[in-house]
């Protein structure tokens, strides 16, 4: 299963092949030209929201161990800053970066130009207005107070219009496709584009716009809370890995059949995971059991995808020293395997009992949305941006700061907080331990978490600076991609693979 949009360049080429390659390069250039505006708008917005989300995260994190910090400002009380952080990073940073990536991938893989790209600016603008208004509303005290759905009722219609526009534009490119072969990334993108607007509108109708009272709301909440990860972020993330790994390595994905198995088992089982968030809760027992079973079945899609990606990487790990895209992507892919396996185990009653209601779950959520998805998005943006702006990344040093800040940050976040959360849970399960002791116990771990958050924020600032420099074409003009190690070392492997704008432009 080779990547259809770029054949690997052979060592020696005939004149006919050369002219064919030039034709393909012109086509790629025209495709990138057509998606440039909307993709840049979505990427730039996502980086803006990443910085805002980091600030909100730091405020919320510090408040957890030092509650007097900014303590008497109603807009900044913990219970408002925390959901503001979540919504900004989920709908501002992660979703907008995901949409940018999705549109670019869909165009490249369909080998079709985007039609009427300027109209898609409307989607980007509405999206930003929705996130901005929703975040202000949460800070002002108008939160719905349902996790992942805090935006008040006037925001979901705005975001829905924005999503639907994105979906239609992507579907148009898909229908216009010149490439007959539908690549695995397109299956995932297609599914995400279709699933998410349906999920989002259905759930908002039932919970925010016309809610029916009662505990069934909890089942719907977690059907959404889990599926926004499983049916929106996960397919976009996996589609991106499936695209970037073969591109950077210059070799096809290991197995087409594993790709098929991974895709359909994900579609079948991930949908049903939601109620594992309700183990021990006052909901019908069958509901929880069904979700626990589906969660264990998730080992199938996660295992197949992990094997498929690993076998593609084997023998090429050396390139991690050089390629920024590959570094972030492989870190994200490994986090995906880890977080999914952990999630399945967490759904077992015996492991859920000590971990539920503790910081363990918070650490888990960050390994998913950050260690997996955000790292993949960083990798994608490093790959896509130079192809849109015609300008290579300005500084390998800043990329290093970004990588070590974020990779080191998430590990320093995840490992101690998981341990602290697990112990917190064990203490809570001992009725003789006063509750306040479980609170006191976690405080050192929460300090470590703030330190880790600071590392991540430094990484994000380095990334934001790089991003702005790239858009404005600051720094010296480079004719080779910005690598993190001496390019000469990798010349042979990268000659065809990490092809730059310069090579691609006719």
């Amino acid at each position: 299963m080779t990547d259809p949009s770029d054949a690997i360049a052979p060592r020696r080429t005939s004149a006919a092949e050369l002219s064919e390659r030039a034709r393909q390069a012109r086509l790629r250039f025209a495709i990138d030209e057509s998606t440039r505006g909307p993709v840049l708008l979505f990427f730039a917005s996502s980086v803006f929201w990443l910085v805002i989300g980091s600030i909100l995260a730091m405020i919320a994190s510090i408040k957890m161990h030092s509650p007097l910090f900014l303590g008497d400002v109603s807009w900044l009380t913990f219970g408002r800053v925390r959901p503001a952080h979540l919504n900004v990073v989920a709908y501002g940073w992660a979703s907008m970066a995901g949409v940018g990536t999705m549109l670019w991938l869909m165009a490249r893989l369909s080998r079709a130009e985007m039609r009427y790209p300027k109209l898609l600016f409307i989607s980007g603008v509405i999206w930003n207005l929705g996130v901005l208004a929703g975040t202000i509303a949460i800070l002002a005290g108008w939160s719905v107070s349902i996790e992942y759905l805090e935006f008040p009722a006037f925001v979901p219609p705005l975001l829905t219009v924005a999503y639907v526009l994105v979906g239609l534009w992507a579907a148009l490119m898909f229908l216009d496709r010149r490439e007959k072969h539908i690549y695995v990334s397109q299956w995932y993108l297609f599914a995400a584009l279709f699933w998410f607007p349906w999920l989002y509108t259905a759930v908002n109708l039932l919970l925010v716009i016309a809610p029916t009272p009662g505990v069934a709301q909890a089942s719907i909440t977690w059907w959404y809370g889990h599926n926004v990860l499983g049916l929106w972020f996960t397919p976009i993330g996996l589609a991106t890995i499936y695209y970037l790994l073969p591109k950077v390595l210059g070799r096809p994905i290991h197995s087409y059949y594993l790709s098929i198995l991974g895709f359909w088992s994900l579609a079948l089982f991930y949908n049903w995971n939601g109620a594992h968030h309700l183990i021990g809760a006052p909901v019908p027992a069958w509901l929880v059991t069904v979700s626990v079973v589906a969660s264990m079945m998730m080992f199938i899609p996660v295992g197949t995808v992990a094997i498929n990606h690993h076998m593609t990487m084997v023998g090429h790990f050396r390139l991690l020293k050089a390629s920024p895209t590959l570094r972030f992507t492989v870190f994200g892919a490994m986090s995906y395997t880890a977080v999914s396996a952990e999630g399945s185990l967490e759904s077992l009653r015996s492991i859920n009992l000590p971990t539920h209601f503790t910081h363990f779950v918070v650490a888990h959520a960050h390994l998913g949305l950050y260690g997996f998805f955000s790292m993949i998005m960083f990798g994608a943006i490093y790959y896509i941006m130079p192809r849109l702006t015609g300008w290579e990344w300005a500084s390998a040093r800043l990329i290093r700061v970004h990588f070590w800040g974020t990779a080191g940050g998430i590990l320093a976040y995840f490992i101690p907080l998981s341990y602290g959360g697990f112990m917190q849970g064990l203490k809570m399960l001992d009725a003789q331990t006063p509750f306040i002791d479980t609170v006191r116990y976690t405080i050192p771990f929460l300090w470590i978490r703030s330190g880790a958050g600071l590392l991540m924020t430094v990484g994000h600032l380095a990334f934001a600076v790089l991003f702005v420099m790239n858009i404005l074409k600051w720094g010296e003009r480079r004719t080779e991609p910005t690598l993190l190690d001496d390019p000469a070392e990798y010349a042979r492997e990268l000659a065809a693979a990490d092809a730059t704008v310069v090579e691609e432009t006719p």
């Binding site: 107070s145 279709f194 719907i220």
Partner: protein, 203 residues
Amino acid sequence: MNHGPTIFLGVLLTFASAWLGLVFAPYSQLNKLKPAASDTGGDFYPKPLSGLAAKGRAVYQANGCTYCHTQQIRPEGFGVDIDRGWGPRRSVPRDYLYDSPHLLGSMRTGPDLFNIGSRQPSSNWHHLHLYDPQTVSPGSTMPRFRFLYETRKIVGAKSRKALDTPPDWNVPAGYEIVPTEDALALVAYLKSLDHTTPLPEAE
């Protein structure tokens, strides 16, 4: 897999099946629930919240109490919620008949509040706790909610609503701390959180 319609159909069916299973089925099962008549008379349980408590619930939502406090009691044998004194019985779907949005919560940075009204019946305790959590709960990391209170000069007689403050708060002489409408509503809501009524299905 180069056939678009097959992918579309598969994606549609997998999603629709889970919607039926995890959304539609629990909804139709739980929608049949009715309030229970008590053994002693025509009094039904649960009851919708009173006006002030309903307003207080909105204050609880606005300030995100749910991110640190759950409102659910796990059954005996699964956790020690009952042993911790958080309630005499597990919570069941009927308890939540009028709850919208649900506030089950997913985190216990602080204790469960499903029965806080019966555990802490004093309004003054709640007000002191909201104004300065450390006063009644040393070591607590709960934020102070001072923006729900006013410190004002006593004009004439002390207000009946004024907090009964401990001496070490050092409230300046001639001043009093008075809860705003929001604080009064929130405390009314917290005091209404009492799900100790026995129910047959929770036996």
